[in-house]
Amino acid sequence: MTELKNQNSPFIHFHQKISFKFDGIKYYGYKGDTIASALFRNGIKLIGRSFKYHRPRGIYTCGIEEPNALVQIISEYSEPNVRATVKKIYEGMEVESQNRWPSLDFDIGSINNVFSPLFSAGFYYKTFMGPHKSFWKKIYEPVIRKAAGLGKPPKEFKAISSHLHHNVDIVIVGGGLNGLLAAVSLINTNYDVLLIESDNQLGGILNNSSKINEINGKRSQEWIKETIENIENSKNIKILKNTLVTTYNYINHLIAVEDKYVGAKPAEDKVNSTLHKIRTEHVILSNGHIERFLSFQNNDLPGIMLGASFEKYVCRYGVIPSKEPVIFSNNSNSNSLIQTLLELNIKPKAYIDSRSGEQIEGQLFDLIRKNDIPLYTNAQVKAAYGNKKLEKIIVEDSSGGTSEIATDFLCVSGGINPDVHLFTQSKGLLDWDEKDLTYKPSTPFQNTITLGSASGQFNLEEVENEINKKLKIFSPNKIKIKIKPSTANEYQIQKLWEVAAHKSSMWSKSFIDLQNDVTTKDIRQAISEGFDRIEHLKRFTTNSMGTDQGKISSINALGIVSDLLDKKVNEVGTTIYRPPYAPLSFAAIAGRNSYEFYDPERKSPIHQWHIKNGAVFEDVGQWKRPWYFPNSKSESMHDAVQRESKNVRENAGVLDGSTLGKIEIKGKDALNFMNLIYTNSFTKMKPGSARYALMLGEDGMVKDDGIICKISDEHFIATTTTGGAANVLACMEEYAQTEWPNLKVYMNSITEQFATFNISGPKTREIMSKVFSEIDFSNEAFPFMTFQFHEFEKTQIRIMRASFTGEMGYEIYVPASSALKIWERIHEYGKEFGLIPYGTETMHLLRAEKGYIIVGQDTDGSITPIDLGLNWMIGKNKTDFLGKRSLTRSDTVRSDRKQLVGIMPTNKEDQIQEGQHILLQETIETPVPMLGHITSSYHSPTMGHTFGLAVIKDGHSLIGTKAFASTSDQKTIPIDIVKPIFYDEKNERLVS
């Protein structure tokens, strides 16, 4: 195959050959080529298989609007669904086609095309209903997922992106003719301007076609060069190339993605893409237009392409996909394509226009006659035929007669649409233009200005006027420009959406959405089934729901629907174009918030000690907490927890409780405030004492718990659960500011300033007396639920007599900087008494034996203090506290609420588990009444069997009765419902 070059293209480096692989075969292209343009150089037209019917597909466009040519880039962590028409090649690039098996040329899935009459619109909803519900999940879905679709998701993910924020005055989207002129008009003004272009070349239509020969008496490329220089020399304008604006949000907030490696293999350790987050006062949309296609039978064959895209390949990429294409058009946009080809001595095989001879522009008519190009007027392409590539087309002329033209290439143009995606994302309104047959921007909703063809202004002679008029609000530099168009300037189009099929059958297909394999037949079927609202029709047929959002076809669908319903297109309406404009990778969105930065890890000040001592960690919120400390590699979690628990009950253990939330509350009205926040009353509490307290939501449900230390009426320290710390502080701040601003009270988090060590076990007092030898730990000097401040080696520490295990114990609060020193000292002195460190699992087990709840495990936001049997914690004489009134709501005083109870298996060898449901009868009969479930369950080394806590409907009155726990294999375990306390019911050990 001899390669057809357009040596005049200034953007391709013809001296720089680049090799790349497509489906394992090596090909050559030039620096500057996209995958698509390089494949055309090598005569490759078949590039993929379609979504549903696995039909052979080629390259349909030359840009971001491409519906067909999606490929997988193997050399970049197997990046799927890359547009071959955008992605530039580099040395060693490996590309693969998608959705085919075993090969692109021979694809088993293409059998779908034979069965296609079965797969019409809505077939997913109708077909796979029986014989049983499980068939969808187990059989249909996996098979369909495998057969239908796009590329394969990569197994590995390594892309690196960064985010960049901009605050500017004006953003110009699109660096084509109008974008450049807008920038020129703002040179050296007082505005900060960002000019964003998705290509690596500025110039747009000037590069992509031969529509404009001269600007201000200069060749267009010369004018571009000069203009860019002027813009770059201006102090207030920044140009971003290779950057695609994907999103236009409220408040003129734009998102754009910049590809940092265009035409190069992305480095593995550098930022591959930048996500620009842009705040601006004004947006100028000069992002041009998109050509649309036409529907006729087999309009999807490889070898069929949009006319303007063909011209772009010739002008922008210097490759000529075919030397004798046939051109089929209904509008004047294709004029310049013929001109471009003739200038390169390429004679189109035929020109077919649906317009009459009189409607066709005189200049074009003369050109065609002069060059002796076969001309068909009032004519339409009825069908295209060929095996995996275009071989011939059938043309119907004005008389109704058909003729056959053998050709390998067909250029199609169905008219042009302003690229309104971003404008509609900004909530601007569109209006249908009956003359130009397209939706055009009408009323902007934000500070948005549209320019040039993006505004639906297709007349090049109007450019100067439009810019000077629309940008007037900026008092810009006045633009003086003389454009010399090469072809007729007036845009002309004749209505044509679809050509009736040449030979209509069950298998004939005229596509309306190439990416999702939607045919015009599907549209008809949807309407006949009642889906005549455009948004319904879109979802039923999946028309324009592909990743291209129907950029080249959605307007055609509206046209067809309006004809079928005999309504004006404006009445049919348009579906909404949603962000992003084109798919962007999750990697770009994630930015630096990935891998180890995805979520911050919080660590206790003695985290390193835990690592050194072999702790296994558990995630609690963002915290890493030691879960258990295995004494050897072979010790299982169960064994370690049993050993740790036993040791705490017999000797002593110490837990790193530093993650516990700590909040300091100060102020003249602190006492008053605390009485309002917590259920308990702190009024009669003596300074230096501590109290277990509950915090409710206004709905009366338990939200958090903790121990409150009263230093004075004006100074409290509250502890919270590890996960609830931030919420409790936020709640206190909210009420202090919004409901009780008259209270003089201030609060602050001191969680990270202090480490907390919970030491407990029968030998604790002996250990503490050794560690802090000057302190008297006797019950008289240091009673249960009191705290004392002490000076220890020049640091102030706070020791509290409290326990979460049921054994006598102390909590030691030390400044984080001295934490390790004191922690090690405790271990040093505790060794002889058998002190061990224990983790959260042992802590959970020991507290459950005592029936102490964990908020969030034994409660779930629907449990009141009364349900927990904690009535004693409610300050009866208080007039108000959070949620007080809710405790007497009709719902909270019901007797059949779920209430906390203890449970024990009747046969001690039975294992009960968390999450098991409670039944009152032995056999499981559906529907099973939802009585409640087991919230906590452990194996107790002290009792020698499993036990649990559960919330059961009317549980308090069921204590002493028998029930059953259902297992996951549909069996039941007999259980005894007991009081939720299993150890030291009289608290003798606790206060000993």
Binding site: N249, Y250, I251, H253, R279, K427, L429, T443, F445, R533, I534, E535, N570, E571, V572, G573, T574, T575, I576, E698, D699, A730, E733, E734, Q737, T738, E739, P741, K878, T879, D880, F881, K884, R885, S886, R889, S890
Partner: protein, 116 residues
């Protein structure tokens, strides 16, 4: 994403703030003897208008101060921001500013062209 003009810190990105729901909902004092229904209204019921909405925000990743705001929920336009102890601006102050993205009516939603 919104830009919110914190009355204490100045304009900042929405990601620094948390929304606190409807503003000017007075918490009944606990000493009041009120019915289940009245209390239930306070705890569970909030208005959710399309259009002007008085709401609360807190600068949670900034000064942690609460303040009030008038926002048009159909356009997301913030019409006024005021401190907690400032008086509530009357609704009629904003009457002329109401506009919806698609010129739709104040109630309901959907595609305006289909509705016509």
């Amino acid at each position: 994403m919104l830009v919110i003009d914190c009355p204490y810190c100045g304009p900042r990105d929405q990601s620094e703030f948390s929304n606190g729901g409807e503003a000017h909902v007075k918490r009944p004092d606990g000493s009041q003897d009120i019915s289940d229904r009245e209390w239930g209204e306070y705890v569970f019921i909030r208005s959710n208008p399309k259009g002007l909405f008085y709401e609360r925000w807190v600068h949670s990743h900034g000064c942690r101060k609460w303040f009030n705001c008038v926002r048009d929920t159909s356009t997301d336009e913030i019409l006024e921001i005021y401190k907690l102890d400032d008086p509530q601006p009357p609704l009629k102050k904003f009457e002329n500013k109401i506009k919806t993205p698609s010129g739709e009516p104040d109630v309901g939603s959907g595609n305006f062209t289909v509705k016509k």
